[in-house]
Every structure is written in C-alpha cells, then in structure tokens.
Amino acid sequence: MAEKNDLEKIYTYCIHCAALCGVVAYLRNGRLVKVEGDPDSLRNAGTLCPKGLAAIQEIYHPERLKYPMKRTNPKGDDDPGWVRITWDEALDTIVTHMQAIKKRYGPEAFFFQKGSTGGSSGSEWYSFFNRLVNIYGSPNFGGTGHICCYTRSCPGLPLTLGTRRKQPVIVYEKSDCIMIVGFNILHTRPNVARKVLDAKARGAKLIVVDPLLSPTASKADIWLGLRPGTDLALFLAMHQVIVQEALYDADFLRDWTNAPFLVRDDNGLFLRAADGKGYLVWDEETGAPVAADPWLPSAVKPALRGSYRVNNTGCRPAWQLFCDLVEPCTPGWAQKITWVPEDRIREVTHLFAATKPASVDWYNGLMRNSNTFYTAVALALLPVVTGNWDVPGGLTYGDRFKLGDVKGDHFLPRDWVEKSLVAMTGLNVTAYNKQQVGPMSLVSEAILTDKPYPIKGMLSLASGVGTSNPNSKKMTEAIRRLDFCAMGDFWKTPAMDMADIVLPCATPWESEYVNYNPPYLMHRRPIVPPRHESWPDLKIIFELARRLGYGEMFWDGDMQKAFNHLLHPFGVSVDDLDAQPRGVYISPPQPQYRKYAQKDKQTGKPKGVDTPTGRIEIYSETLKTLGHDPLPHWREPEPGPFSTPELFREFPFMLSFTPRPMHWIHGQFRIVPWLRQCQPAPLAWVNPRTAAPLGIQEGDPIVVETPRRDGTLQGYIRIKAHLTEALHPQAIGIPYGWWQGCEALGLTECGSLDGSTNVNDLIDDYFRDPVSGTIGMGSYPCRIRKE
C-alpha cells in the first residue's frame, strides 16, 4: 500500500442517499485507488457507509453500459438486437420523436421519468430535467415520491399542519422520547443514526412501530410489531387514551389549533360569524359564541367539548368531533386490529404523552397502504395534541437555504398543469404536486387505455421504471406499447428490453454539480472522467435542450453559468467554491421554534400556520369539501384479511416489505460485488411457526404467489427462506428491489417477471388510498410453498 502522500486527494461528497457525506477520493496517476469518509467533514467526520465506500467498484464495473445503442429487432423480440450508435444519432432520434409526439398528440403525451436519489447523478439534476420538461410543456414528470416520501412532504400533512414545501425536522439531540414508524432510520439515514443512538445513550426512549423487527426496531426500548397496514388503528387508540385520561395540552389546542372552532351539525362545515368573517367558538366564560380571526382575546376561554346551538344551528367544537371519533377506538379495540396487546398500547401512550419533549418520525413504511393518508395525519397529530409541536425536541418543520430556482415552472402554462394525469384522475390539490404524476399506475393505465389521454413517448433517466413500481407486468407491457422510449442508466435494467434507445449514464463520481450540504456550499467535481462513452445526466439534458431549440433558456449550454445561477442566492460563484477543498462554509439557519406565535410585522397578530384557518387543523374543512373525511377515520387496509377476506382464503399470509439495509439504495447496486457480498441473495422472512408445517427450513428455496384483485394469479417469485421470529406468523417479509445479477460473484440476473425475485411483480395496483392514491401493497395476500 503506497503512502498517502503519493496520492492525489479530491474532496467531494457522496450522493447515494440524503446523508450527503463528505468524501475524500485518493487517486494515483488519474486512477481511483479508494474513497473514504472525509475525516474533517462536519457532516460525517470520516464515517462512510458501504455504498460510498464501494465507489471504485461502481466506477470500474465491467458491466456498465458503454455507449449509446438502438434496437434493431421489433419490441417483444427476446433479443432487441442492440447496435452501437453515436450520441448524435441517439439524441437526434430522441428529439425527433419528442417533437413528432408533441405535434400529433400534444406535449402531455410524452412522459418523463426520473429515479431516486443515487441514480446516475442523484436528485441533484432533477430540477434541470424538470426545466426541460416544463419548456417542452408536459405536465407529466414522474418520480418515486408516491412510494417513498409523500407522507412527509407533499400531501396530507400540509393540510393539517400548514407545512407546504417544508420538511419535518426532528432534533434528536433534544428529544427525550421518539416514536419511529415504518422507518429503518439507523440504516437509511446514517447521519441521523448517530444522533438516534446518542439520544438513546443519554436516556431518551425509543419506540419503534414496524411489522418487522428491523435493525432500528432491534435498538428500541419498545418495539410494536403490529399487523401490517394497521398503524392508523394504533394511533387512534393512542389518541383515545390521551383524550380519555386528559393527557392532551388543552391550552395549545385552544390557542393554536382549530380544535375549538364550531362545526355545524348539518353540513360538517365551520360555523362562521354573521358577517362571514372569522370562525366561531363557544366562550365558556360568557356562554356565548365569539368570532375568532382566527385568534381570540385572552379573556375568551373557548370550549373544546360540548354541543351548542347558535342561531338555531346545532354545532360542536372540532375537538368534540375528534373525541367522538376516537372514543370507540380503545386499546382493546385496537388490540384486535393491530395484534398489539392493549396494555402495551397504554404503556406506549403514557410514555409518549408524559415525556416532554417527545416526537415522531416516519418514512416510507407509511407509503404502502390504502389508508396511508389518514395514518400520516393521525400520527402527526400525536405531537400536536400533546404539546410537542414546533418545540425543541418535538416535531417541527423548517426551511433550508435554497439554491436558485432552475425548474422554471413559469414555462408550463397553467392549463397544462390541470391536464396532468394526477389532476385528471381526481387526486388533485390535496394529494400531489400536480406536476408529479403520482402513482405510476396512472401512467401505465394511460399508455394501455389512452385514458384520460394517450401517452406515447417516454424518456427515463436513472430509473428502474419497469421494476420499481407495483405491478411490473403492467408497466413492462405499457412500456412495450409506447411509440417511443429512451432510457439512460449505468447498467442494463429489465425494462430496457422494451426501449428504442439506451443511453450510458455517468456515475455521480464522474459528474459535477453544486449543492448546499450544510454547512458546506460545495462544487462536486468529477473524481475521474466519465468512463467509456458515458455522459452525466446533466450533459444529456443540456444537449437535448439545445437540439430542441431551448438553448437560450438553458444558459446557452454553459453549465458553469447554470451553476452560478444556482449559487446566486448565496452570493458566490463556482470559482469561489473551487478555491477551497470543501467549498464555502456557510452556517445553516438556526432552528426556530414556536414559529406560529411569531408576530406578523404588518398586522401585529401571530403568523399562525399556512392552512385555511391559519391554525393547525385537527379538523379539515378542505378535506370535507373535497368529499373526504375531515378527521382521520379508521379504515382497514386494502387488500387485507378483513377488507378483502375472499383473497385471503387461498392466499392466507400477509406480504410485507423487509427493511432496506444501508448497503442498498432501493433497487440499485446489487451488481456491485462488495455490496452484493453484504447480502448475496434476497431472503423471504418467514416465522418458524409458519415454516414448520410447510416443511420449510432455513435457506430453502420457496415460491411466493399472490392474487390479482379478481383472485386469479398475479405472479410468483422464487426466493430463499430465512426463518426468523422478527415477524408475526401470518406475515411474510419480502425485500424489494431485487432483479439484478452480479457476474463477478457468479450470480446471474433473474429477470423481473414470473419466477424472478422482483416483489413488485406480485402486487396488483388496483387498491388505492382514495385521498392520496397510494397503492395498497403493505399487507398483500400471498401464499408460500417449498420449491
């Protein structure tokens, strides 16, 4: 091993997840020797996870796509007949089809898809891709949020909490009780994992809600291994205990939420003052209604409970309706639904409600059920009703310093936005950013049925679009039916067999970008040039823009200028960043708390939150108006043993997803040998009590089969069994994202449809959350047998 001082050092950062760890790359004669965590980075202090550490095997992997290719055989042929072409031919072909499809069917007929963080250049270049899509005029820009992060950012919660465009912030350093739901945070957020374990070491209590004993759950003080898809029942029971035992923060509810607002018995809308201005509350001191604007004079003590008549209209405070909702949801009721013993539910509730500050944190485990929307609402209301909202160590939302806007939403005419698939499917306003297509089944259905309008073309970058969404068969068939499809990635993906053009993308290690990873504003430079003929995604986007005639709107193709535009709000240039190894140090904004109480300079009144009532909404009139439940009503997950018992007669087990380990980012990197050796094969988690009568032993190959909505076979996978007590005997845990081979270890690719290891082939996308469109896949019926 050569001494370090023989080596050239390049400072960069890893973008294979949201931790954005500082990295030092060591090179000898221009060739990468290794990467390490940057010991002096304040973000990760030298630590680095397997994905980042394996950069060298990612870059020098012999199976990378090497040059652009076109198919020469018809779609559906086993051999696409790939032929090497030039970038000129590839890009001109894409541009020709984009223009032809736009002319014949309109721009909405071309669908653009991007993958998740860590895909060829991570999430960074998305805003430029979005700009291209906006200028082109298509409202259909797809991603992965519908199966990942929408419970945190986009839908639902902004309605309740007024947190549009903000991200939840949980200051683990200050919290004394944290309830983590459907979130293997110790693996998926390495930078936060340290804080969680530090919090625990100083005595903070950790409650983990997850059907499976994840690595995170294994560190919990209390693990609630509930029935998949029943989190909402658990949270409602916790609310029931909080209400019944008066563990809620009544002052906070009165002052800052719409809990005291009177709701009309006749139509479920808020009772408004006679002049139409302001909402009414019932003042317990005077026994009369008082208008809130939405704030109240301190002398008024608004009622939270009771039933009143105002001008002959029967009405009740919103909190009374919430209490009525949760009253029957006792821990005993929830025990039958969730499998969690009622004493355990009480214990957790007492711990959570009695500890100040307490918070909740959650992620994509909550994005898998047809009751996802209200599950997230009920969960977020736990810190609200217990007075843990926007306090240090509680649940708060924050702003981040933002780079200059390059998305260019103004390029997209408003009527096109209304024409987006998600808007036209009725999942509008509340659920999704309308420029995101929402559940990907909307795209496959549009392609297959021409409804609500035809989708004829697709450009997909860094996305395993054929395998990463429920119902892979349908999506694969849809892609086959497209008039034109171009896909870019580092390696071949199963859906590429249906593409017309394949583009080799550079890895993030070979690409550049600028970003603010607090406290560093950094220019991420390529540590080695792109290998073979691969191009960074950003270069592909800029070149397509130029050829489409959008050059003027793309900084005349000058990426440096574009980066300087991104940096403009910080008052620095790319050259300034390059002058220092880690870029420019900029202190992140100090977290602010109780922001709702800050006084608006003009009115002198509290700022409140960004909801229709200006207060946190225990009761959502907006949802009521849209025809949805204004309160988080219990709803069995669909499919499920109680909601679709007919499907469970022949498929008696509940398929749930195993936690994502740190060495994968979703469906990526099974091909990288160092990472594949962490977990050579996907394993189905089976409880030994389930396995024994079926004659299944550790490591046995098994077949997992699932039904369609109509009871016929949806698909089957072949996978090895791992016997574990980490889950209920009726649950079967399957990992997602498995299809890729790893030739260096002698492991061949298994395809993505029947007989593969791709769990998304098992899921019919029929079942959806009526509000958010989230596909019900977290408690999917299945049966297993030894192969």
Binding site: T47, L48, P50, I56, N191, L197, L213, W674
Partner: protein
C-alpha cells in the same frame, strides 16, 4: 510499548456492513476472503424477540492460539501487540491448523478467484487483490499500516454509528482504556482466557 485494540459497542452496532466494505476497500482482500464479518444473534419469540449484531474479526489475542498451532512459526506478536502472519513463512497446503485453532473463525486462506474484475485494465483493483497470494492465511491486521500514520483502522473510521473505538490499552488516557476502566467492557469469550485486545460492550 503500545498494545492497540478495539472496543465494539454492541448497543450501537446496527449490522450495516460499513466495516466489512471499508476493510475490503482498504485492504483489497480477495473475493472469497473477508477479514471481518457480522454475526446476527436472534433470541426469543415474536413479539418478545431481540436481535444483536456482533462484528467478528481477529481479536489480537495475547495467548495467540493460532500461533501455537502454526507448524512454521509464521505467526508472531508484532509491534503494537498486533498478531502478525508472515506470508513468506506460511507454507501449509492442505490443512491449516491456525485456521482451525481460532475459536472466532476469522483466519482465512487466500483461494478461489484472485480479483473481482480480472479483465478490466483500468481498475487498480486487480493488482491490489492479486497481491494476496494463493494459499496464504490472512486476517485482520488492525490496519497497522494506517496506525503508523496516525490513522484509525478503516473499519473504525467508517463505522456510521461510531460503534467501534480504537486505542492503545497501554495508554491509560486513551478512550479505550477509559472505557475498560468504566467496567462495561467484556471479552467475547472470557472462558477461553485468550487475553484479546478486541473487546465488546455487550447489551
């Protein structure tokens, strides 16, 4: 004199494999060889079940059962109390008594594929991997080449949850010695009386 060692805090280990890949990256071990592995122990029945992750690597035992088993005196206590295998003296072909003698099963024979990407001329991985000669027994060196430059072993630096602490047992002020003095640190197999330098904080 120094006696370098590790403390692995099981309460902080999440079984993430960063140590395993960091070791691969730092030492370019061959495809079928890993100097560190993670053992998962599960106890109980759902829902009263627990799981812990235990990274296992050369314990740098003072008693060196591997050295006692070695017929060619290839294994000795090196500088810093790090057990060293001299490749030029490692001659066994069929059986490897040192491998058998290690109760933690962390000694491995270089065999099988020589490198991951043997056909890629651009990668430095091939020559680095192939430096590990066929038939030679290898194990964790505690990254002694890093220690001499003042760096912690690669696994310790990479560990995302800071579950591994590196230090000098002979230095009473080291974080390692302080933790040992705190009394929560255990030998993984105390009944074997091997006097290891790799110790564990058990849950």
């Amino acid at each position: 004199m120094a006696r370098y060692g590790l403390i692995i805090d099981i309460s902080r280990c999440t079984g993430c494999y960063a140590c395993v890949v960091a070791c691969k990256s730092e030492n370019s071990t061959r495809p079928d060889v890993s100097w560190i592995r993670i053992q998962e122990d599960e106890e109980g029945e759902y829902p009263q079940v627990s799981r812990r992750y235990v990274p296992l690597l050369c314990m740098q035992c003072g008693e060196m059962p591997c050295a006692q088993a070695c017929p060619s005196e290839a294994i000795r206590m090196g500088a810093g109390g790090i057990v060293h295998i001299e490749p030029d003296k490692c001659f066994c072909h069929e059986a490897h008594p040192c491998v058998e003698a290690c109760p933690f099963e962390v000694l491995q024979v270089n065999q099988g594929k020589k490198s991951y990407f043997p056909d890629d001329p651009a990668s430095l991985e091939k020559e680095a991997c192939e430096a590990h000669r066929d038939g030679v027994v290898e194990k964790c060196t505690l990254c002694s080449h890093r220690i001499v430059t003042g760096q912690a072993p690669a696994c310790v630096q990479a560990c995302p949850t800071r579950a591994m602490i590196f230090g000098d047992r002979d230095d009473p002020n080291s974080a390692l010695s302080q933790l040992i003095a705190g009394g929560r640190v255990r030998d993984l197999r105390p009944e074997l009386k091997l006097n290891p330098s790799v110790l564990y904080v058990q849950t």
